[in-house]
């Protein structure tokens, strides 16, 4: 009988631990979604640390000011929602291009940029340098803020 009580108490502790872990992980992931990492510097394309994406790689011309490159996988519900959002946001912006790229057929790009999750959205400046990136479905205001922060061509 005592061992049964011990079992239930142990189980309760484990259950509470699992609930806590799920809550923490859920909060972390939710917060990370759509967070466009701050760029501490604006590297030139030839700088060794710079990540550059070319128009040829994505199969589309770069935007005159910015390009949003979304990396998606075939069956990824957040990717679809991200595509809808970014298409809408960039529809009226002539100097911002948007390209949705299939991660599986661009594995070299995926590895080079260390993309671990889809959707991942890259913000490229006019030269194709990656200035910001975010994973997960972003909110509209996060996208608008990221677009607004990149300096326009003078």
């Amino acid at each position: 009988m005592a061992s049964r009580i011990v079992g239930v108490v142990t189980g309760l502790f484990v259950l509470l631990g699992a609930l806590l872990l799920a809550a923490v992980l859920g909060a972390v992931v939710t917060r990370r979604n759509g967070r466009f990492a701050e760029a501490t510097q604006q590297p030139a394309p030839t700088d060794p640390g710079a990540e550059v994406v070319t128009a040829q790689e994505i199969g589309a011309p770069l935007g005159t000011r910015l390009t949003l490159v979304q990396l998606s996988t075939a069956f990824c519900a957040p990717c679809r929602a991200t595509r809808t959002l970014l298409t809408d946001v960039t529809a009226d912006l002539e100097d911002v291009a948007y390209v949705d790229v299939d991660a599986e057929s661009h594995l070299e790009l995926v590895r080079r940029l260390g993309v671990m999750r889809t959707p991942t959205v890259l913000v490229l400046d006019a030269r194709g340098v990656v200035t910001r990136r975010a994973s997960g479905l972003p909110r509209r205001e996060q996208v608008l803020a990221a677009i607004a922060e990149v300096n326009p061509k003078t």
Partner: protein, 149 residues
Amino acid sequence: MPSPSQVDPRGLRVAAGLTSVVLAVALVAPRPLTLVLLAVQAVVFAVGALVSLRLSPYALLYATLVRPRLGPPAQTEDARPPRFAQAVGLAFTLVALAGFGLGVAALGYAATALALVAALLNATIGLCLGCEMYLAVRRLRPTGAATPA
């Protein structure tokens, strides 16, 4: 008619919720009941992973009791990632059964707890860990092994 490989994502969340309840109860139940619950959950996972998501008991419950009240889904999802996730759940549940069954309770608790965390994340914020793992696994494949779109 949706193609056979598409599923209603709301059904997946409901199934994850039911899984969470079963696994949570399994953690605090007396050992015999724990084993029964884990075995039941293992069967549910096995049907979903190896046969069809739609024939999984939780999916059938959803289809008969919940879905008629909701109407059709706004979007459907490809069934392959959730089926992969069911297979992962099956693996964890079998490990848990082995742990409890062979007297290594710590293993049983650990495996059950991890499966519970995954089910909870799926049920609450719709995070499918299997889907997230997919791209990470694909990155390890050599270039040129891409499947047709």
